[in-house]
Every structure is written in C-alpha cells, then in structure tokens.
C-alpha cells in the first residue's frame, strides 16, 4: 500500500492504518521533537501530542505538497505551543550578524553532542536556530511562527550562534587538554 493510500484510508476512518502511518513517519518527526525540545522527556510528550493532533487533523491534508512537509510543520507547531503561550520581551538592539562565523572543528563531534548543545540553548534562541538553520525558514516566516519581529529573530539567531560557537570551542579546548 502506498503512503497516499494509507493517508486516504486514515482520512476515511480506517483506523487500522494509523499504526502503519505512524511507523513510516515517526522517526523523522521524533527527530524534530528532539531538536525543538529542552530534553528527551519533553520530546516524548511533544511526539505524543503531535501525533494526536496529526490524526485529528489528517482530514485537512488535501494532497497538495508533500505529506511529510505538512506533518513536520504540524509537529514544529506542537513543539512551539508552550513557547507561544508566554509573553516574550523583544530585544531593543539588533546585533549584527557576523558573516564570517567560522570555527575550527574536529570531525568527531557527534550529533548527540550537538543535539545536547541545541537543547541547552534558551528557548527563544533554540527555536530560531532550528527554524532558520536546520529547517530552512526565513526570518519573515519565523517572525510569524513565533510572534516576534524579524529583528528579534535575527538577534536571537546571532546569539544562538555565538553560544554554540563558544560551547564548541570550549569543548574542543578541554578535549585537547585531556589528550595532552
């Protein structure tokens, strides 16, 4: 059975196909949850709630554009729910992006380590970083997503980069000391 047929079956109320659909897309969606959540527990909750939401709204998918893209957006929205509910102070000053934001790295930086760095970021920086760097949204789209100005989006991204850069450099320095 193709993905399209499974989706149609779910839309038509064939609940037995839900698990099949889950098995196909869960890994990719859980990865999104991990990126956007503060920790694994949070990610599990977001995955759970996100799938409930997905199956409740599956009839809204009209087969225009990729289903995975639609599902990812739904999951990102789910992960941002808590953040959207709280009021956020807007930054007054914009920090200029440094175009040359390069660092020296080792190839042995694992994704678990990098994931932990992302999860450790403050919420507003993490979300902007994920949306812009990892999921390819523009600052305009991010500002709509998060209810912030584009300037704030850019500032948050810059701050996120600085933090990540500092942490990576620190980590590598300590690694070097240990080796030596």
């Amino acid at each position: 059975m193709s993905l399209e047929q499974i989706i149609k079956a779910c839309q038509n109320g064939d609940y037995s196909k839900r698990e099949q659909l889950y098995r196909i897309i869960a890994s990719e969606l859980y990865a999104i949850c991990l990126k956007y959540s503060q920790n694994q527990e949070n990610a599990k909750d977001n995955l759970h709630d996100g799938f409930i939401n997905l199956f409740n709204k599956i009839h809204q998918y009209e087969f225009k554009g990729s289903f995975m893209g639609w599902a990812k957006r739904l999951m990102i929205n789910q992960c941002l729910q808590e953040y959207k509910k709280t009021f956020h102070l807007e930054t007054i000053k914009d920090i200029h992006d440094k175009e040359d934001d390069e660092i020296e790295i080792n190839d042995n930086l694992s994704y678990e380590f990098l994931l932990s760095l992302i999860q450790d970021l403050p919420n507003q920086y993490r979300h902007v970083f994920n949306l812009y760097v990892l999921d390819g949204y523009s600052h305009s789209e991010i500002s709509e997503f998060l209810g912030i100005s584009e300037g704030t989006s850019k500032s948050n991204l810059s701050r996120a980069r600085n933090i990540l850069k500092t942490k990576i450099e620190t980590y590598q320095l300590e690694l070097k000391k240990k080796v030596n």
């Binding site: 609940y15 890994s27 991990l34 995955l47 390069e102």
Partner: protein, 468 residues
C-alpha cells in the same frame, strides 16, 4: 582541524536526522485516540448539555405556542383555489399557498407568497399590469372584472364594492412586505366580502422612481404614505387588552373640605392606594391610539384635629347622612370655640375624621406616539368618568373607630381631565409592557362643596398588553 561555518556544522550533522521513538509511544497514542472516539459518560458535561437543550426546548416551545395562539384568530381554513390556474409571469415562483378564512358565500382568497422580490417603483406598474393580463388570459374573467389595488384601503374598498353586487370580481393586491398580517386581520372582519383576491406579499418597493403615469404616481405616493407610517403599523395588531395595576397618590389643590367649611383649614392627610382594572386600546394609526377600560379606585383622606362626643346635636352637617342605628356623635373642629358643651359628661375626644371614596373609573384617552419602535414613548391626554360606588365616614382616634355615615354630596358621576406620559416596550410579538404616569384632576366630584375641595390624583399605571 577544519574551519567551518557554524551553521554548516549543524546542517551536515542533522541532515537526514532520524531518531527512533521511545518504546510504547504508539500504544499510548493509540490509547488516547481510541479514548477520544468513545467519550466516557461525563456527568457534568451531560448535565450541562441536557440543561442547555432542555432550556432551549422550553424557550422554543413557548415561542411556538405564543405564535400559534396569535394565528388562531385568523381561523385558517383550506382554500379550494389553487394558484395553478393563475400565472404570474413577473412574480417569482410561489413558495406556498396560505389559506385564510373563508368569507361569506363562495368567496375565497388565494395568497401567493413570493420570495422577497424587490420591485422598483417603475416596475410596479408593469407587475400589476402583467398580473392582471395573465389573470384575464388564464381565467374566464373579463378585464372589467379584474381590479388592481395597491394598498390595503383600496383592496378593502374593492371588496366592499363586490359585496354590493359586483360578484366574481377579482382583486389583485400587491402589498409590501409586512402588510399582509394587518391586512388579513382587517379582512377577517365579516363586513367585508370578496371574490377571488390574489395578494402578492413580500414585495419590497425600492427607491428608484422612473417616469410614470400621473395617476399611477399618485397611487404610489399613497402607498409610500402608508408604508412610511412605519412598517410596524402594517404588522400591528391593533387591539390591545391590558390588565392594569396602578399606585395612586391622592391629594387636593389648595385646602378645603367637602364635608364642611369648619374643616377648611384643618390639616389633612391623603392616603396612597392601589387601583386595578383592565384597559382596552385601539391603534388608529402608527401615531395614535385610543384607550378605554375600567378601573376600581379607592381614595381616602383624613381630616385631623377633630373633636367628638356623643350628643343629641350631631353638629348639623348637611353633607352627611348619618348611620340610623348609630347614636348621634357631635363632631367639630378641635380648634373651634363654638361647639356645645359636653353636657352629658362623656368627655370630648380628639380624633380624626376619615373619608373613604370608592369609584369605578372609565377612562377615555388618546395617546400620541413620539417614539414608536420596540420602545414606545407617547403623550396621553383625555378624560375619565367616575361612577361613585361607595363612600364612608368614620371617626377614628387612637383606640377607637366608629362609622358615622356616608357623605351625600358626592355626585353619582363625575369626571376628570387626564394628562400623562406612556412608555412601552414590546418584548414579544404580541406582548407589550407599559408604564403610564398620569395626572387626573377631578371635576365636580362633590355637588355641595362648601370647602372648595379640589381633589386630584397621580396614578402610575402599569400593565402588560396582549395585542391582537
């Protein structure tokens, strides 16, 4: 070590990033989804939903009941005329045929209710002509037998003419939206007779006026006048029945006493009371309403500083018819120096003289509406006839109360001039609440009024009118 852009580092690592969901995730999701499809019985939700639907049911039933009761007086009977035989090429297809009361003889009425057709004034003539032409061509009537009426008055006039011998006359009325209800209630008056009457309702006449025949122009202006007197007039149930209750504040202009001039300057206290009755009103037009009815009203007042004692000489009051079985009691103003001595030694007492008056009021008032929407505001003027029903006189003191007799100087019928205001509120289709503060100045209440007693009262009349 390589130099890389920070973004690039993360992008490369998280490209095609997948993570196996935790064990048991799907089972939890499935459980939650199944729980949603079979909602558990929730007491609070059930009670809340049940209460809402029950209250809605009661409310809707009440509205339907009142609406059906409103319709009862039209006594709808199935008409034996179908509209198939009558074609109206310019009128929208009929939605339904309403049946109305069968009038005298073989008269019958067909009603076609078109769907909110908006007719420009310029098209109105064509519409009427086309209707007439189609009727003539589709029935066995000649042109002379078909008349076009554009207003309720015209329709009724034609109907009246048909009564006087113009049988089988067909009258086509094109009435604006909302006119039908009052037209129907007028038509239920049995003095009107009619042949086939075709009424096209739900027609709204738009503002655009194109050149029209002078005669037709007059006709349309008449319609405007009729419709401009507010659509609400056409929808009015003209009669109103109003059970009324009123707080009454009784007093007199100036001083005086209807009993005797001896009490002119005595202090008097007037009692407040309640009047109850029923009013019947008829709405002449949008602005005017005439009202009558019947109310029972009790008035009383007390004359203070009265002395009294048993005496053969009762004081000689010509205005009092004494109780026959009562021993004479002398009554006088306590401040007077001319009363006889208490030769019997009973001792004089200080007290009050209480007079009670009981009338049946029949008002005749005209109301002029200054504001006439769901809220109505009007000025009221007119007069009332008062029929004397009962009166009494008592001597009262702290621990004593004794009847003396009745006043014999009260006119059996007297009148008042009335003026006041009225505030209405239409809260349901056939029900209107009203409050009327009225000032009623009594005229010729007493035939022999030595003290120039000039009573008046202010009544706050309130009631709920049933319109029909």
């Amino acid at each position: 070590m390589d130099r890389k852009n920070i973004d690039r580092i993360f992008q490369e690592k998280f490209k095609d990033f997948y993570a196996e969901p935790p064990e048991g995730s799907w089972e939890k999701i499935e459980f939650e989804l199944n729980k949603k499809e079979i909602p558990a019985f929730n007491n609070a939700v059930f009670i809340k939903n049940f209460s809402f639907f029950f209250a809605s049911f009661i409310f809707i039933s009440a509205i339907v009941f009142i609406y059906l009761n409103d319709k009862e007086n039209t006594e709808l009977i199935e008409s034996n005329v179908t509209l198939e035989s009558v074609k109206h090429p310019t009128i929208d297809s009929t939605e339904s045929v309403e049946s109305v009361k069968l009038l005298k003889d073989s008269s019958h009425i067909s009603i076609s209710k078109s769907k909110n057709s908006i007719v420009q004034k310029s098209e109105l003539i064509n519409k009427k002509s086309n209707t007439k032409n189609s009727l003539v061509s589709n029935s066995n009537q000649s042109e002379q037998q078909v008349s076009i009426a554009s207003t309720i008055e015209d329709s009724l006039n034609y109907a009246n003419k048909s009564k006087s011998g113009h049988n089988n006359k067909t009258i086509i009325s094109l009435l604006e939206t909302g006119f039908f209800t009052s037209f129907r209630s007028l038509f239920n008056d049995n003095s009107y007779d009619s042949s086939t009457l075709i009424i096209d309702t739900d027609v709204t006449i738009s503002e655009n006026i194109v050149e029209i025949d002078e005669r037709e122009k007059l006709q349309i202006e008449k319609e405007d006048e009729f419709s401009n007197s507010s659509e609400s007039v056409s929808e009015l149930n003209r009669w109103q029945l109003t059970p009324t209750i009123a707080s009454v504040f009784f007093n007199t202009l100036g001083n005086g006493s209807p009993i005797d001039e001896r009490f002119i300057n005595s202090e008097k206290t007037f009692s407040n009371s309640v009047s109850a009755g029923v009013g019947l009103s008829y709405r002449i037009s949008d602005k005017l309403m005439v009202k009558s009815g019947m109310h029972i009203i009790n008035l009383s007042y007390i004359t203070h500083d009265v002395i009294f004692f048993p005496n053969l000489n009762d004081g000689g009051y010509s205005t009092i018819t004494y109780e026959k079985e009562q021993n004479p009691i002398f009554i006088d103003n306590a401040n007077s120096f001319n009363h006889p001595n208490d030769i019997n030694g009973f001792g004089s007492n200080n007290g009050n003289l209480e007079q009670r008056l009981n009338f049946l009021e029949i008002p005749m008032e005209l109301s002029y509406y200054l504001l006439n929407n769901n809220f109505g505001f009007r000025i009221v003027g007119g007069f009332s006839s008062f029929i004397a029903v009962n009166n009494s006189l008592h001597i009262t003191s702290e621990n004593f109360r004794s009847p003396i007799g009745i006043a014999n100087n009260i006119n059996p019928i007297h009148f008042s001039t009335n003026i006041g205001l009225g505030v209405d509120y239409q809260f349901l289709k056939s029900f209107r609440a009203s409050v009327e503060p009225m000032f009623k100045y009594q005229l010729n209440t007493f035939s022999n009024n030595p003290g120039n007693f000039r009573p008046y009262f202010i009544g706050i009349y309130s009631g709920i009118s049933y319109q029909f």
